[in-house]
């Protein structure tokens, strides 16, 4: 019996080898008969996971050889486990694509746990999204610039002290001398919206997709007002996100109230750094050892995929706003800029690290 099973296993292996060699005779890069996995470094059912699962059907058909597309989840360490694995252990044949959201900020806030070099990751593309801070009507303000001279104490809610998203509004309130308290420990942004309704919090911020689906209705109900947006990086500058033309960026508010001289302030520089760090909100990456030919083929596939009108239409319907994507070279340019800032402005980086430890 043992001999029989050994024969069976050998037969299967041999069959597979034949199969593999047949597919490899094609000269150009092709993933025919292979499985390409998008590796999500978070659990099943999170925002990143759900987005990837929606995109999957559109992705495969743009990749040469029409491979089977699957999602693989490798949660842990707030994303670090999966990020490290893609960089160090994933196969070099291009069948694993990482979809990262926090790899950029992780290199700053968790340097001793990160086992990859940001500058060496190869970016296939990404999507841009901004974040929006909003405050409860209880504060009695109508717009961001009203924050200056606010008499009431602000209770600002966030999930964890390390949350990079919450650092921009925290820095804004520091620059404007707003009396505020950072309340940490909420499980999700949904919990914080509930806390705002109960009057437990008076300010928080949220992602663009949550803003359109959950916060805008609250604005219409008259419960909250939008304060400021992070903006997006365009041609090396931080500008208002074209999908939210009426909400000013944090930078506009600070410059209007404090004048141009504030640009030299380390807090302002730290804010700018944060906006660049978030330039590629979610990006798809290859490990550095994937061959150039494979990288080029996949980058071209992603370009086609991100321009696919069916995919864009699906997303507009699903998330309620236009998808703005970055191709490989655009994403790489933003990451290069981040790497450069990390080297050139250590003072701003130190301030951000301190913010990640104390409210």
């Amino acid at each position: 019996m043992k001999r029989l099973s050994a024969v069976l296993v050998t037969a299967i292996v041999a069959l597979c080898l034949v199969f593999a060699s047949v597919t490899q005779t094609v000269a150009e890069v092709s993933f025919k008969g292979k499985t390409v996995a998008i590796l999500i470094p978070y659990s099943v059912g999170g925002a990143a996971d759900i987005m990837a699962r929606q995109m999957l059907p559109f992705m495969g058909k743009q990749i040469p050889g029409d491979p089977t597309m699957i999602i693989r989840n490798m949660p842990g360490g707030g994303g670090i486990v999966g990020e490290n694995w893609v960089y160090n252990s994933a196969p070099a044949d291009g069948t694993i694509i990482g979809q990262f959201s926090t790899s950029v900020t992780d290199t700053i806030f968790k340097p001793d746990k990160v086992k990859f070099e940001l500058a060496k990751l190869r970016w296939l593309g990404g999507v841009r999204e901004t974040t929006i801070a909003f405050s409860s009507k209880e504060l009695g303000i109508d717009k961001g610039t009203d924050l200056a001279g606010l008499k009431k104490k602000v209770f600002f809610g966030t999930t964890s002290i390390q949350s990079p998203r919450a650092m921009l509004p925290r820095l804004l309130m520091r620059i404007l001398d707003v009396d505020h308290k950072v309340v940490t420990g909420y499980g999700s942004s949904g919990d914080m919206r509930a806390a705002i309704r109960r009057g437990e919090l008076t300010m928080t911020n949220d992602s663009q997709s949550a803003y359109f689906t959950a916060v805008e209705p609250m604005v219409k109900e008259g419960i909250v007002v939008p304060i400021a947006q992070e903006g997006t990086v365009q041609d090396g500058k931080i500008v208002r996100d074209p999908r939210l033309p009426d909400i000013p960026t944090y930078f506009e508010i600070v410059l209007e109230l404090k004048g141009e001289s504030i640009r030299k302030d380390v807090r302002f520089r730290a804010m700018e750094t944060l906006a660049f760090l978030a330039g590629v909100r979610r990006g798809w990456v290859y490990a550095p050892r994937v061959s150039n030919a494979t990288f080029d083929a996949m980058a071209a596939s992603f370009d086609r995929f991100l321009k696919d009108p069916d995919m864009i239409a699906h997303f507009e319907k699903a998330i309620g706003f236009k998808l703005i994507s970055l191709n490989a070279s655009q994403a790489q340019a933003i990451i290069d800029r981040v790497v450069e800032i990390q080297k050139s402005d250590p003072e701003a980086i130190e301030l951000l690290k301190a913010l990640a430890q104390k409210p």
Binding site: P75, G77, T159, S160, Y186, G187, G190, A194
Partner: protein, 533 residues
Amino acid sequence: MTGNRRLTWLAILVVLALWIYLAQDMAAEIGAASMKGLLRVFAWPAFGYLLLGNVIGFAVGMLPGLGGPVTMALMLGFAFQLKMDAVEAFSFLLGMMAVTATTGDITSVLFGIPGEGSTASTIVEGHPMAKKGEAGRALGASLMSSLMGALVGACAIAVAIPIVTPLVLSLGTPEFFMLTVAGVTFVGALSGGSVVKGLAAGGLGFMFSLVGLDMQTATERYTFGFIYLWGGGETGGAGIGLVPATVGLFAIPEIVDLATKGGSIAQAHVGRLGGVLQGVKDALRHWWLVIRCSAMGTYIGIIPGMGGPVSQWVAYAHAMQSSGKQDQVGTGVIEGVVGPGAANNSTLGGALIPTIAFGIPGNVTTAILLGAFLILGLRPGTSMLTKDLDVTLSLVWVLVVSNVITVSVCFLFLNQLARLTRIKGTLLIPPLLLFIYLGSYTHSNSIGDIVITLIFGALGWLMVTFDWSRPALLLGLVLGRLADNYLWITYSRYEFGFLARPGVLIILGIIIVSIAYPLISQRRRVRAAEPES
């Protein structure tokens, strides 16, 4: 006792009157939309997808390896690929989710291994019944109470529609914190012989929950340098996963026990399965307990972060406490099967309420459902309670129809299911071990999950041997992380002013009573017994 009952009836009447007063404008509208919603569920192909969802949910609930939330997320992509519309998609997804707690109870009763994270409590009383050869009765009771619980949870959504704002927003984080403490004391105080050991086990569970990255200062607590122990999620979270710990605590000792005792699971003669009918009668006889536990389950579902893993134990503690059989914990007390069976099913209905009304998901399951809603173009919020009311009520019907179908099908197969307890242990052990490890592994797809299962397996086995309360430890683990976060939110927001909030004081009173009552009644029983001896 009669005075007590009269008082409860009075309370029900007052609540009913209040509801009618608040809902008078909407009652007719709810009625009409409810009919429309029912027709949408029975339309083709939505009904076909509902049945498909039921089938998948049936298997997922039974298999200890697969949790409802994980499978639902995996099925999400399937729903997109088939281009289902809104009603079809949630007939499928919710139809699947609605039955996992029902069939999960079956695995818990038969094998002493939790089919779902939210059905572990059914083991404590249900599995001893299976060992005594009463598997049929335990299954009958748990299925019937599951059905009743699901119905109460579904009705709760409809009932909540006019009063949703006060219902969801009346309690704040300070009250949530107090409720976590109350939950652990309920279960700790119950643990059979020794209240001291029960409370200590709950405290240890709290300490285990601290493993991971702390949210306030990002301190690594008890992580020994392993990133695995930081916990998942984009912002950190509990380092010890609920499923690996639950499976370890309850399933590993069962495997050891099964192999040591030899033979099959049922060690006494399994009589005719007429017991099933007896179990159904048990559930009906305890209808008032079922309603109370279902109501608790629904309300716990509304509270953010809590869900089936919490409500089952609170219901269990309540069922045992009110049965007056606290000293018979773990011997197969039928109330201890009926109570949690109802509560873990009603929780889903409760968790849907804030999801629908405010887009605020109560737990992981509803967070995934919310994602699906958004993608399918449904916007939770006031429109779901006005313009799209029929869609909301078709959700209610999905819960009702799915559970009616599943429970009926289960009754057809109960004979075959109960016979599983007579299969030889050696044949069962490898598949059971497969599902134990697979279940814990799917928590974060890491070998670390398996190590956690082994550690908690050893702990669970020792706790069984030396008579410590595993439920209290597990509930401490579930609630500890929430309590830690709630405490800090409370303190940084209100400082010590939170102690003066009326809600906090009321819950504090309940906690004191729940500790004092068993002590007093124990003493009274001792005193009553004295003259005889």
